[in-house]
Symmetry: C2
Subunit: 130 residues, 2 copies
DNA sequence: ATAACTGTTATAGTATTATTATAACACTTA
DNA sequence: TAAGTGTTATAATAATACTATAACAGTTAT
């Protein structure tokens, strides 16, 4: 669990932490059931307060990415246990995709350029899996 | 220029404004050279302070989306006049695309699912242009 | 020229949010 | 029982966001 705080980053610390943990989950570096460092431990190693870490974790719990149980460390949630369902998340994905497309076209990319870019990235991932 | 402030939104007002203006530029509702409402005018209609609007505009200027000239209202920048060049923006696009891909795959989408989704969206845009 | 607009800069004060500091509580595990 | 979890509560401090005024420098139209 490598978490760093960037003083130059204008975003609050708890957002930075939540973002980094989220990324590690999305990248598969943290898998369902994996334990996170305790709020006191992470806070200690980062030199910040316990509650700031807790705040970060709580946000991810609200997004159903983490699961808390009293007396135990926070764990990465299993994907199936997302009560929000795929529906809402899919709409979020749609929105993000729309934004990305407009941005790409703004940059002067053609539809084919974009398709090629996508294919490149997909192939990169396939190779990494090998 | 329809700009609204959502009190429920945890993000600061200047971020909300900057975000909405940015979206309108990306959607083509605001085109290069279009004038934005003056900071005093927009602030007045939103019931907020001049400097808050200015802060929002300044962020977009730093992103090379707006151009300021003393004595004149802020204008939407022409895309070619982005000194940062396509390079940095392209890396931002790359990063966003990576995040989106991981998120999509997390949701269980296959590579083909994703390609189909992209194609649908591209076709939607082509139809809108007609 | 002048009046009425622009954005710019400066200074200050207030309001809100983020962070820290302590402490006690409830629960789990060894 | 002891040492580790997250939880809750309260309070104080630090940092950020927002407002309030005012003056300045440039533009545009009268």
């Amino acid at each position: 669990m490598l978490i760093t705080i960037n003083d130059q980053d204008p975003r609050p610390v708890y957002i930075q932490i939540a973002g980094q943990v989220k990324e590690q989950i999305q990248r598969g570096e943290l898998k369902a059931g994996d334990e996170l460092p305790s709020v006191r431990e992470l806070a200690g190693s980062l030199g910040i307060n316990m509650h700031t870490v807790r705040h970060a974790y709580s946000i991810l719990r609200d997004q159903n990415l983490l699961v808390f149980r009293l007396g135990q460390q926070a764990k990465v949630a299993s994907l199936r246990s997302q009560p929000a369902g795929t529906k809402e998340i899919a709409t979020a994905l749609n929105r993000q995709l729309d934004e990305l497309l407009t941005e790409a076209f703004l940059l002067g990319l053609s539809a084919d350029d974009f398709r090629n870019l996508i294919n490149e990235k997909i192939n990169q991932r396939k190779e990494q899996k090998k």
